[in-house]
Each structure stands twice: as structure tokens, then as C-alpha cells.
């Protein structure tokens, strides 16, 4: 069971206080979008073995959403950051490349 840090209230707590919300930084496509765009937005998700940017909510806590950069195989956590952003901030990317120099950013991030 993971420990997760909520950047909104500053609490680091066990996973049972949180709820996972899937891949972060999706771009919404609404009416007027093509079938391909809409399909990609609604259904297609990265499933990387390695670095993953994901959404979490501190549901048994301050109730706020935030993002976590995490390794899906080793479960190491690179950092938490605001949900009010469309891409991972540089300091998070720096932590990742520092630990995994070979890593390259994927589709949605």
C-alpha cells in the first residue's frame, strides 16, 4: 500500500485516504471533435511500464485533486503536484530524469 503526499493540504498519508483517478493531463474533446479525437480522449490510455502521471483525490481528507508522478513497476514516487495544470512541472521532470536518465516523455505528458 502506497504512501502519497497531497500538495493541497500537505499531508503524507497511506493510500486508503486517497482515491486514484487514472491518467493525468488528458485533453477534453467535446462536440465538434472528430470520432478519432473523441475516442482517444474517452478511451485510449497510456499504460506504461515505468513513469506514469496520474490523478489522485484526497477523498478521505481535504477532498482535493492533485497529480502524482510515479513508477508503475518499482512504485517509486517522483512527486505530487497541482491538478490545475496541463503538463507536469519542470521540477517533477527533473526528479524523474535525475533518477532515470534514459526516460523520455510519453504521449500525454
Amino acid at each position: 500500500m502506497l504512501t502519497i503526499h497531497c500538495p493541497n493540504c500537505g499531508i503524507t498519508a497511506e493510500e486508503t485516504e486517497f482515491h486514484a483517478g487514472g491518467e493525468a493531463h488528458l485533453k477534453r474533446f467535446g462536440p465538434g471533435s472528430s470520432d478519432a479525437e473523441f475516442e482517444s480522449y474517452l478511451f485510449m490510455r497510456d499504460n506504461p511500464k515505468g513513469v506514469h502521471f496520474e490523478r489522485w483525490r484526497h477523498n478521505n481528507g481535504c477532498g482535493k485533486w492533485f497529480h502524482v508522478a510515479r513508477d508503475t513497476t518499482t512504485l517509486e514516487v517522483f512527486g505530487s503536484y497541482s491538478a490545475q495544470t496541463t503538463e507536469p512541472p519542470q521540477d517533477i521532470l527533473d526528479v524523474i530524469t535525475d533518477r532515470h536518465p534514459d526516460w523520455t516523455q510519453g504521449r500525454n505528458a
Binding site: 502506497l2 504512501t3 471533435s33 470520432d35 473523441f38 485533486w65
Partner: protein
């Protein structure tokens, strides 16, 4: 025979005699005994029968690795099967019974299997019981169930309580032997927060038993000093009887504390599950001795050498008068020496090794007059329910008899394996230690924590250290490194105490005894005692192609019993490696999974049983309902009254009465569970236009509008009435199960997509008790309460207003889910019960009668109103339900709009909502399917629709239903066939879903 010696027993309190029973027979022991030592002291060598062949089995070990000695413990409310006698502390009045035998332990019918063992090898069940297929259910399984299985399932509810405890520390040390104590001391001195847990009741582990010398004194004095110093440290928590059960991600550990197992009847929880978060974990879990694989190594009286030493030294119990020691290493000599010192006979030590010169311990043994036979082995053990002798052979040969030695016990040692379970649980890798023929934790591949660094360090024997001095240094260094990495400073002058070194000769791996044992001997050489797996079985698995260790494990069931192969794993791997001619490390190990040793299910459940098994949500009116005949219906975690049953009334009668009364006079419904969410802000209208398919921004303050909510993939997820409170404030009602979900849904979109929109939401569901006052007399009742104007003119249909009624501060909504004149009235929850009571008084001669959820369902179904969860199932869009009128055509966007344009959603062949009326007036079975022409590719009848809601309507005097039907709205008047699961076929006509008051005049009065 096994018996209690006159002297010895370092853990016993001989002043405290304890009485207990085994299979009804009264026996005596002392405080400090385990059930195992007490049974042995009473000459109870035979303790159970094996799983498959029902062979007689005795105690083999002295700790959690024990494979054989499992018993039923206690009775009735304290009954528990499969308890290890070696980990059960003796207490006054303990009752134990043996398992897995019929009719008795001494005489067991199932033992006939052992004569058939040649015909019951590994994989036998898989091969034998395949055909004919029908035999499995009716012949094979019942017979196997009768004869297999370990203990009995408890019949009485568990009378004990259990709890969890959340603990946090910098360093968790698991294992309270000398390594664990030294690690905790070193960590504790650095100022780090330390928890040290030990699974047994005693500190010190093996070292005091084995006569280790620390700082030139006996180990016990080091242990006493260490415990005293640790107890005095503010930053250290010490816990005995607490096992490290599992290591999980990010430093999470489960500690299993057996609080009152050893003193039943004392107040408090029986087990406590420690849910520990540690910055770093040190596993000082020691090592476990391996058995040797020779024919008859499972006969009662054959025991691990170290266990025999434990019984003599710790408990003053001799397992036999004459013990033959068989070994491949020096450690077992300690047993021979200890037995000799206890005045017992050791006719011979059979040492498989051939060594150029005697080691320290060998010389000591010889000096005591023990006959040491080098290069010798056990060919077979003689005896049935008890060892009577050993047949001696050369280890190098095939088992040719050299001599027979009469004895009543055999002490065996095949070397030691570090307890690497906890290291491995979370991904720590192992390396093969050639010198000691065991797997050690690989310090270069530890389990990885949140920061990407290792979070477990093994220390002492658990990291492959076998010299006392190395153990202490290793533990000290481990703790030192760990605390330093956590930012603590260990005092410079702190050093590990000095452990005395022993000059041991190297051990020699022995995986089969003798090395060329014949097939006949191999068939009696047990690897896994509990699951009855022999050397021959593993060889057979390899021969049949199950050469992967995970496959061989499952084919033979090696290591799959409740001991998880603590004794058998390495021996089994080595046997497999030999069979496939591969080096042991390349065969690898099976996966170590938590828990290390079985823990109680109840401890895992903790407090969550009985009334608090899961939260039950109660409305402010719950107690009234409960006192007035409510039959409860769970809706989410809520409990809502299904109906209020009166004396001499069936539930159905009650529902019919409530429905009729509501239509004719007046009903009250506790609607407190409906979600209420306040949405406020300059962008609230825009936001609600996105949330709902309808236009909410155009709603006038003071007005209500029914709204539909869809998910982004178009499906209907919730519905409810929205009221505009002020220019910038709306109140959204949700379904009973929907409040938290919809509140979360709104917050999600506001926080993660439209974070620049100025909207705040608040879930105020539980602030209010909400009562629906429904029926022709509703207005009269409210007027009697007095206060605000509730007339049609002032408070029309779909209006709301704040005011006072009967002195209560209320908010009144003129909305109706029943098709009647209806007011939903919200009052602060703390006044909810008083308000309800006031309504009952005011409505007394107006025919007031509360109604439950089933009546609510019928009332809404008569009106053709959909219910989320009945008409919807997560695949239904509003367009399917004839709700296109509630979808705004003017809006560019709302959640689900784009999805509803997908080809599958616009398919004219989607099933659509219609009403259904049985031809004969009966009630359609809920969920029944309408069948069409022909069959599908699986040969099943094609289906063209299904029933989503079905009730008997007392107002219409017939069954009414709603359903989704292919091209339904275009087929009005057609009759469909619905085969029921009761064998009958129901004929129903397609109708309009509104059965009652089609013009909607009744609520609008």
C-alpha cells in the same frame, strides 16, 4: 518415551503447574511451556495424521516452521482449527484435539492410503479424476472432501474481539534475537523512533539456547541488559508475541500481536493487527534448520536437531532416551552435547561429511564419549507411530545396511536457511550462498521504496551470518547504516558487543540421504510433511515436464500447505535441480507471500464485525421508523423503510395499503437520503449547464426543474430536481445513492478541468431532514401546521419557498415524484424528528400514513417516472428513456453530448422505454426478457426487450411494468412474450409508460 527431565527448562516457571487436555485426556505442564513441549513432556509424540496418506506424525520443530503438529484449539466461541502446538503458549484449562483422522488418532481408517501410496503419486488426482466428467461432482469430490482437509470449521460465532493499531516509526526491527536486540539498541541510541517486535514471548532467540558467549558472559546477560536499556528509551517500543507477518510497499508492515491467546478470559482484544509504517525495516528474523531427506524421516520421534535442543534446554523435555543425531554440519553436535549434558544417551552421530580433522564441536562431542561416524547416513528409520531405530549406511552409497542402531529419537540437521520471507515479500532478491547451501538476501537488490531506495535491510542470521560475532557486527552495522541514511547520528563510541567465534568445519550440502538412495527409499523420503510430498514426487514432476519451480510446486503441492514450505522449500528446489541437472540458483525459488505464518482472519477484519461490519447510515427519523414496523431496505449504506408492516399484515399488504392511502388521502415519506448539493458562484449557471443535459442557467429563482446528468460517455448517471435559490445559487437534488458520487463528480470537473470557473459546491445532504407530504390532503395538513402560505397561487407546482410551518424553519419544494399534490419539506436535521411528529399529529384525521420505498416505487411507476438503477444500468442514455425533452437543443456542450452523437448511441435499433401491461393483469417478473423470432449463434432465443420495473398497482388493480423494447415506441399495442424463470410465459402489451393521470392534473392543484 518423551518425558520431563528433573532439571533444566530455562523458560519454565516450575512453581506454576498448568492442567490441560489433549483429545480429552488431562495432562500437566508448567507456565512457560508451549503446547508442544507440554505434549512431549506427557509422552504425546503422535499428534496428527498427514494430509494425504494419513501417516502418523509427530512434532518436528519448535517454532512457526512446524509442519505436522496442528490441532483444534478451544471449543465453541473460542474454537479454532489448525493451531500450531509449537507457537501455542500453554495456559490453564487449554483444550486441544488432534485433526485429520477418523475415527481416532491412534486408529485411522484413512491410513489405508499409505499402503496405496505407490498408486497416489503427485498429479494422481489431476489424472485420475478427469473422467468421466460427471463423476467429479457426484463421486470423486464427495469422497475426497470426506477424507481430506485439516481442522474443522468453527460452528459457533467467535466470542473474542480484535483490533487494528496504526503505528509509525523510523526503524522497525523484526525479530528479537540477539541481532534484533543489537540492531534496535544501535538504532535507538541514534534517537530514531524504533519499534522492535518479536514473535515469541521471549527475547533472545536461539543464542541463549545454544550457549553463545557475548562480551565474555553468557548471552542471556546481554539479552537482559539490552531489553533493560531499550525499555528505558523513550523512543523505542518493544513488543513480544508480535510477529512481522508481511512487508508491503513503501515501508508498510503488518505486525500480528497475540494479545490474550496465552491468557484467555482476560479482558481485551485477542489479536491486534499492527499496521506499521516504517522509514526502514530491519529483518532480524534468524534462520530455520532444514530436515534431511532420508527414508522414514517423518516417523514420530524424528525431529530437527535444534528443536530437540530447544525442548531440552528451554523446557527440560527429552524427546527420547536414546537419540541418534544425523547431520551434514557442526551445529547438530550442539544437540548431541546438550542431550549428553542432560544425562541422555546419544548412541551415535551420523555425519555425512568426511573431514580431514575434527572441529571444535566434534572434538567436544567425542570427548563426551559420543560415537561419531563420519561419511555415514541414515538408510531408513525403523518404527511406525514411534521411532525404534535407524538403519545406518554410507552417505556415498545406495543404502546398503552397515548396522542398525536402536533408538527412540532421531535429531537431524541438513543445514540452515536464513528466514528471507519478509525480505522477499516486497521484491527483495536473493543470492545463493554456496558455502552454506542457502539463499541469502542480496543487499544489492532490496525491495524499493517510495524514494527509489531500498527500504529493507536483513541483519544477523537472516542475512546469512552464522557466526555469533558476525551476527552482532552485522546487526550493529545494519542499524548504523539505516539510521544514518535517515539522518540520525549513531554515537561514535557505540560498538557491537563481542561475540565468541566458533571454529566450525564447513557444512556439506546433502539433498538426499544416502546420495544414491533407491526408488524404494526415495518414496519414503519426505520433503513436505504437511502436504505429503516426497523426493520421488518432485522427481516425477520433473520427469513429466514440470521443470519450472512454480509448475513443480503446483503439480506436487510442495510448499503449498499452511507452513508454506518453511522446511521443505530449499530441499525441494535442490531435489528439482538435481532431477533436471541444473544448479540450484538457476532453478530459483518460488514466490514468498505474506503472511509469514498464518494469522487469524478476525485480526485482518479488526473491529469490522457485527454492528460495525460496515457503516449503516441512518436518517434523523430512523428511530421512529424502527419503532413503527419498518422493514429495512439497504440503499447504498443507507437504511430506508421498505414498508411499515402492521400486525396481521404481510409486507405486500402493507405496501398496497400505503400506496392506496397516499393516492386517496395522504402519505409521508422520509426523503432525507436524497442528495442536496449547493452550487454557487458567478459561473454556477454555466457549470450546471455542463453538468445537466437540460438548461439550468435559465431557471428562475424560486423555481424547480427536473434534470438529467450524464457521464462524459453519454450514459445517464443521476437525476433529480434542481432549485434555483438565488441569482448565483442553485440546490441540486440527487438520488439517494448519488449524493457523494455526484458531489465528487462536480468537484472533479471543477478542480481538474474548469478550475478557472468561479463556482463553489457544498454537499449539504445531511444538514436536512426532508419529508415528502404527499396526497390530496397534503395542503390541508400543512395549513393546519400554520405559517407560510402553501396555496396553489403562492406556491405553485415546481415552485419552492423558505418559510415557517408549525414554528419550524423550513424550505418547501412543490415537487412530486408520485403524481400527487406533494410538498417536499426540508428542516434542519436536529429538528427533523419533531417536525415529523408534528406532521403526524396535524395529519391524524386527514388519514396521514407514512409510506416506504416500495410504495414510492409503485407511485412513480404508475406515473412512468424512471428510477436510476432500475431503468438505467450504466449503458442507458436519456434518449432511450423518452427523455429527449429534458435534453437542451440550445446548448453547444454538456457532459455526454459528444458521446451521444456516436453511431452506436444514435442507432435506431437501441431498445427504448415503453409501458408494459400483462394481458391477464398479472405482474411481470422483474428483469424478464421478451423473446423475438429465431435464435442467435449460440442457439438461444433472440431477445427484443426486457422488463426494467414491475409492480402490482393497487390503484389500477393490475400489474404494470416498464421495459426497454426494440423499436418499442413504434409498436404500441403489440403483445410480447416474456418467458419467466418459473416456467410460465407472460404475455404483455406495449403501452404508454404513463399509467395514471396521463394529463398530470393531480399534482397541479
Amino acid at each position: 518415551m518423551s518425558t520431563r527431565l528433573a532439571t533444566g527448562g530455562r523458560l519454565l516457571k516450575k512453581s506454576q503447574a498448568v492442567e490441560f487436555t489433549f483429545n480429552g485426556k488431562t495432562m500437566r505442564g508448567y507456565a512457560g511451556d508451549t503446547l508442544a513441549s507440554a505434549l512431549l513432556a506427557n509422552d504425546q509424540m503422535l499428534v496428527g495424521r498427514s494430509f494425504k496418506y494419513h501417516r502418523p506424525r509427530g512434532i518436528v520443530a519448535a517454532g512457526p516452521e512446524e509442519p505436522n503438529a496442528l490441532v483444534n484449539l478451544g471449543d465453541e466461541a473460542s474454537f479454532e482449527p489448525n493451531q500450531r502446538v509449537t507457537t501455542t503458549e500453554l495456559f490453564e484449562g487449554l483444550t486441544a484435539t488432534s485433526q485429520n483422522h477418523w475415527p481416532s488418532l491412534e486408529f485411522d481408517v484413512g491410513a489405508i492410503n499409505k499402503h496405496l501410496s505407490r498408486f497416489l503419486p503427485a498429479g494422481f488426482y489431476y489424472k485420475m479424476f478427469m473422467y468421466p466428467r460427471s463423476f467429479w461432482k457426484h463421486v470423486y469430490e464427495p469422497i475426497i472432501r470426506q477424507s481430506a482437509g485439516l481442522g474443522k470449521a468453527p460452528k459457533t460465532k467467535d466470542g473474542d474481539t480484535y483490533e487494528h493499531f496504526y503505528a509509525f516509526c523510523d526503524v522497525l526491527v523484526i525479530g528479537g534475537g540477539v541481532a534484533g536486540l543489537e540492531a534496535a539498541l544501535s538504532a535507538g541510541r541514534s534517537g530514531a523512533r524504533v519499534i522492535l517486535i518479536e514473535q515469541t514471548a521471549e527475547w533472545g532467540g536461539r543464542t541463549p539456547v545454544d550457549g553463545g558467549i557475548i562480551d565474555e558472559a553468557d548471552a542471556q546477560s546481554f539479552v537482559d541488559r539490552a531489553v533493560a536499556e531499550l525499555s528505558a528509551m523513550e523512543n523505542v517500543t518493544l513488543r513480544t508475541r508480535t510477529m512481522g507477518a508481511g512487508v508491503y510497499d513503501h515501508g508498510y508492515v503488518l505486525g500480528y500481536e497475540r494479545v490474550t491467546d496465552h491468557q484467555p478470559g482476560v479482558a481485551g482484544p485477542r489479536h491486534r493487527l499492527w499496521r506499521i509504517r516504517a522509514g526502514h525495516i530491519i529483518t532480524a528474523t534468524g534462520a530455520i534448520e532444514r530436515p534431511l531427506s532420508f527414508a522414514g524421516n517423518d516417523i514420530p520421534g524424528v525431529m530437527l536437531a535444534a528443536a530437540m535442543r530447544d525442548y531440552v534446554v528451554n523446557f527440560g523435555v527429552s524427546v527420547g532416551d536414546r537419540t541418534v543425531v544425523v547431520t551434514n554440519n557442526d551445529d547438530a553436535y550442539l544437540t548431541a552435547i546438550a542431550l549428553k549434558h542432560a544425562g541422555l544417551d546419544v548412541p551415535a552421530i551420523l555425519d555425512a561429511r568426511v573431514l580431514p580433522q575434527d572441529s571444535e564441536l566434534m572434538a567436544q562431542a567425542k570427548a563426551l564419549g559420543i560415537r561419531v561416524l563420519m561419511g555415514h547416513a541414515v538408510s531408513s528409520v525403523k518404527g511406525g507411530k514411534r521411532v525404534t531405530g535407524v538403519v545406518v549406511c554410507s552417505q556415498a552409497g545406495e543404502g546398503a545396511v552397515l548396522e542398525e542402531i536402536a533408538c527412540d529419537a532421531v535429531a537431524m540437521s541438513g543445514g540452515w536457511s536464513p528466514v528471507v520471507h519478509l525480505w522477499s515479500h516486497c521484491g527483495g532478491k536473493l543470492v545463493w550462498d554456496e558455502a552454506h547451501a542457502c539463499f541469502n538476501p542480496d543487499p544489492n537488490n532490496p525491495p524499493i521504496g517510495a524514494d527509489g531506495a531500498g527500504f529493507v535491510t536483513a541483519a544477523g542470521a537472516a542475512s546469512g551470518m552464522f557466526q555469533l560475532d558476525d551476527v552482532l557486527n552485522d546487526a550493529h552495522a545494519a542499524a548504523d547504516g539505516v539510521t544514518r541514511s535517515l539522518g540520525f547520528k549513531t554515537p561514535k563510541d557505540a560498538k557491537a558487543p563481542k561475540g565468541a567465534r566458533r571454529d566450525d568445519a564447513p557444512m556439506m550440502p546433502v539433498w538426499l540421504m544416502p546420495q544414491g538412495a533407491s526408488a524404494k527409499l526415495r518414496e519414503k523420503a519426505w520433503l513436505d510433511y504437511q502436504n505429503d510430498v516426497k523426493v520421488s514426487d518432485v522427481r516425477l514432476a520433473a520427469q513429466e515436464g514440470f521443470v519450472s519451480v512454480e509448475h513443480a510446486k503446483r503439480y506436487t503441492t510442495l510448499g503449498m500447505a499452511t507452513d508454506q514450505g518453511k522446511l521443505s522449500n530449499i530441499n525441494g528446489l535442490a531435489t528439482l535441480a538435481n532431477a533436471v541437472n541444473a544448479p540450484i540458483p538457476s532453478v530459483g525459488t518460488t514466490t514468498f507471500r505474506p503472511p509469514y505464518h498464518p494469522i487469524s482472519m478476525a485480526a485482518i477484519g479488526g473491529e469490522a464485525r457485527g454492528a460495525v461490519f460496515q457503516p449503516v447510515r441512518r436518517t434523523p427519523l430512523h428511530d421512529w421508523h424502527d419503532a413503527n414496523g419498518a422493514e429495512w431496505e439497504p440503499v447504498g449504506h443507507w437504511r430506508r423503510p421498505y414498508a411499515y408492516r402492521r400486525a396481521n399484515e404481510t409486507t405486500h399488504d402493507a405496501v398496497m395499503r400505503e400506496v392506496s392511502n397516499t393516492r386517496e388521502k395522504m402519505g409521508l415519506l422520509d426523503a432525507s437520503t436524497l442528495g442536496k448539493i449547493i452550487v454557487k458562484g458567478p459561473d454556477a449557471g454555466k457549470f450546471l449547464d455542463m453538468m445537466y443535459t437540460n438548461m439550468m442557467s435559465t431557471l428562475k429563482p424560486g423555481k424547480c426543474r427536473y434534470g438529467l446528468m450524464c457521464s462524459e460517455n453519454g450514459f445517464l448517471i443521476d437525476d433529480g430536481v434542481v432549485a434555483r435559490i438565488e441569482e448565483d445559487t442553485w440546490l441540486c437534488h440527487t438520488t439517494t445513492g448519488g449524493a457523494e458520487r455526484i458531489h465528487g463528480h462536480m468537484e472533479e470537473w471543477l478542480q481538474t478541468e474548469w478550475w478557472d470557473w468561479n463556482v463553489y459546491v457544498a454537499n449539504v445532504t445531511e444538514q436536512y431532514a426532508q419529508v415528502a407530504v404527499v396526497g390530496p390532503n397534503a395542503r390541508k395538513c400543512l395549513e393546519r401546521l400554520g405559517g407560510m402560505d402553501v396555496s396553489k397561487e403562492t406556491l405553485g407546482f415546481m415552485d419552492w419557498a423558505d418559510g415557517e410551518l408549525g414554528g419550524f424553519k423550513v424550505r418547501v419544494y412543490r415537487i412530486s415524484f408520485s403524481g400527487e399534490l406533494s410538498y417536499e419539506i426540508a428542516v434542519d436535521a436536529s429538528h427533523g424528528r419533531a417536525f415529523w411528529d408534528a406532521l403526524l399529529v396535524a395529519g391524524h384525521d386527514l388519514g396521514v400514513m407514512p409510506y416506504g420505498t416500495e410504495s414510492l416505487h409503485i407511485l412513480r411507476a404508475e406515473k412512468g417516472f424512471i428510477m436510476i438503477g432500475d431503468e438505467t444500468d450504466g449503458t442507458i442514455i436519456p434518449q432511450d428513456l423518452g427523455l429527449s425533452w429534458a435534453i437542451s437543443k440550445k446548448k453547444d456542450d454538456y457532459l455526454g453530448k459528444r458521446a451521444q452523437e456516436r453511431s452506436h448511441m444514435t442507432d435506431p435499433n437501441r431498445w427504448k422505454l415503453v409501458g408494459l401491461e400483462t394481458v391477464d393483469g398479472s405482474t411481470l417478473p422483474d428483469g424478464a426478457y421478451a423473446v423475438g423470432e429465431g435464435t442467435n449463434e449460440n442457439g438461444q432465443r433472440n431477445v427484443i426487450g426486457r422488463v426494467t420495473s414491475s409492480y402490482h398497482s393497487p390503484n389500477l388493480g393490475k400489474g404494470i411494468a416498464m421495459g426497454l423494447v426494440l423499436n418499442g415506441p413504434d409498436r404500441m399495442g403489440e403483445t410480447l412474450s416474456f418467458p419467466g424463470t418459473d416456467g410460465k410465459t407472460y404475455e404483455a402489451r406495449i403501452t404508454d409508460p404513463v399509467f395514471y393521470d396521463k394529463e398530470g392534473e393531480k399534482p397541479n392543484v
